[in-house]
């Protein structure tokens, strides 16, 4: 098929223009996406972060901490206070279980799915007993 003059010279120039524009747009979008794709990894950490905050607050909870001369001893829990069964943290997402080597177990909430356990010390009268605190959610 014989080509006309317009087909021979105008079409390739138009195609080059189109390709230039397409390449420019693709490069622009691609470059932008490179700088914006970093941020998806932090989405699932909220629950763990809250759990760590909760543990931190429990470690300083005056309602169960051992106290002497007005000083509270962080992460040393008093068995007498634990027996009262009351935490001073108002939340219903997490539950904890504190147990020591002599067999005492204190549960706050229904501890079904154990996630983390942290070593703690329990003070029973004059004895300091090693134990662990388990957090469930």
């Amino acid at each position: 098929m014989a080509r006309m003059k317009g087909q021979a010279y105008v079409i390739p120039e138009t195609l080059i223009d189109i390709l230039q524009l397409l390449t420019f747009v693709a490069l622009f979008v691609g470059t932008f996406l490179i700088f914006t794709n970093y941020n998806v990894t932090i989405k699932s950490s909220l629950e763990d972060r809250e759990a760590f905050d909760f543990v931190n607050v429990i470690f300083g909870d005056r309602c169960i901490l051992f106290e002497k001369d007005g000083n509270f001893f962080r992460s040393i829990f008093e068995v007498e206070k634990l027996r009262k069964g009351r935490l001073c943290v108002n939340q219903n997402k997490f539950s904890i279980k504190i147990e020591d080597l002599s067999g005492n177990v204190f549960s706050f909430g229904d501890c079904k799915n154990e996630k983390y356990s942290i070593p703690v010390v329990l003070k029973d009268n004059e004895n300091y007993i090693l134990g662990k605190m388990v957090i469930c959610y």
Binding site: I11, D17, L22, N39, F59, V89
Partner: protein
């Protein structure tokens, strides 16, 4: 002429394709800007909430300065921490013992610094 008509048709369709690409890319760009602001305000809110929780678990008094730069629209309201960055804001519940009182307050951010004060059983922003 046949060649000219084909050229016009090609230009017309290529124009439509380019318009579609521009619209699509601007949608993607705005989505990412919104998402980035949302994620950053979420991150800032979570980090500050953790710091407040840690401070509340101690029996000592504290004055803490945190460098937050230009993004400094943070407030405590009704037991939650509200962080606003750009067009998005995120609220996180602050986990503190019952005896700690979180005072409703807003950061003033002098020189890009956010101040957290803890005195006795009270915590507030400045």
């Amino acid at each position: 002429m046949k060649g000219t008509l084909l050229t016009y048709l090609l230009q017309f369709f290529s124009g439509i394709i380019i318009l579609a690409i521009i619209l699509m890319s601007s949608t993607i760009i705005s989505y990412h800007i919104f998402q980035k602001n949302w994620i950053n305000s979420k991150l800032q809110s979570e980090v500050l909430t953790s710091i407040l929780s840690s401070l509340s678990s101690s029996s000592l008094d504290y004055n803490v300065a945190i460098r937050v730069g230009g993004e400094c629209n943070v407030s405590i309201l009704g037991g939650g921490l509200i962080s606003k960055i750009g067009n998005d804001e995120y609220t996180t519940k602050i986990l503190v013992p019952e005896y700690i009182q979180l005072k409703d307050s807003k950061s003033f951010c002098r020189n890009g610094l956010l101040y957290i004060h803890k005195k006795g059983d009270e915590i507030w922003l400045e």
